[in-house]
Symmetry: C2
Subunit: 180 residues, 2 copies
């Protein structure tokens, strides 16, 4: 859930902030009574891939909370200094150590309750090398009938996988924009 009013102190000067609607604004923000700084909080992007090898997709079993031990697609928070595509590639390397060619944007799902947007790209694995990082217990390839649907870590991952297998049957891969 979005944690409201989690900013207690000004990031510039350390003074306790007050919450009010600034002039020419229509939302409550944390405003510093000493230096006047307005603190904005906005949704963040989580970026990742659907890595595909032939008929199989790559999933990673999480070594970290939340959802330790559950399966996910490689994904994580987009960082400053990178493009959306850079971030999706980086997470695939960090979490799975897979070699991929990034393809088109495939799902964009707004997760309103937590203030996130999840963006997944299709990716073609160029070989079956895997080298999971510290956030991953194991990484492996799954045929559709092997996917552990009741052990998928996040709803956006489940929806992205469902969309992927439906698209593969249909033979085309349109972008799905949705929200949960």
């Amino acid at each position: 859930m979005i944690e409201l009013r989690r900013i207690k102190h000004c990031r510039a000067c350390g003074t306790p902030v007050g919450y009010k609607v600034p002039d020419d604004d229509n939302r409550e923000r944390a405003v510093c009574p000493a230096c006047g700084l307005i603190h904005y909080e906005n949704p963040l992007n989580v970026v990742g891939t659907v890595p595909v090898w032939g008929e199989q997709v790559l999933l990673c079993r999480r070594a970290i909370e939340p959802r330790h031990g559950f399966w996910t697609l490689p994904a994580g928070f987009m960082e400053l200094g990178e493009t959306v595509e850079d971030g999706a590639r980086r997470e695939t390397v960090e979490e799975a150590g897979a070699n991929i060619e990034l393809q088109d944007l495939f799902t964009m799902i707004s997760v309103v309750r937590v203030g996130q947007v999840h963006l997944f790209y299709r990716a073609r694995m160029t070989d079956t090398t895997l080298d999971p990082g510290p956030e991953t217990l194991e990484a492996r390839l799954f045929h559709e009938h092997e996917v552990p649907w009741d052990q998928i870590a996040f709803r956006t991952v489940k929806e992205t996988l469902q969309h992927y297998f439906a698209c593969r049957r249909a033979g085309s891969y349109p972008l799905q924009c949705s929200s949960i």
Copy 2:
């Protein structure tokens, strides 16, 4: 430009932060020496529309800095509590007072230098009502040959408009993902 190390104090307790790479991380973050809170900074989404009425597109002349007096598509920072699509619709209402039906995602441009992702949707205007808000000096419809190309506020707006007119000539509107 991305302002580095702009967090000086902990948002939870006000203590001056130090910059270091946390365990199990590979980037420098602002870390509070008193309460241990790690402060992450990530790219933000700017969401907007290309509102279309027949052969014309809607542009707004900015009443605020940066780029006061220059022309833009309606767009602004995505807010907590909304979807990407909600945000694009909201900005179109706030800045232009236009009535629209949102169509497909049309451009997604990573603006790495400032830590932003700009997302524009095509939108069909349902009438020619306009009611510009306080951030807009004037809003008006432009045919392609009337667009003030040397007075466009932002490069992502210019690229989105160029992509729009090229797509209209071609008769199809694929998503363009790019970066600047």
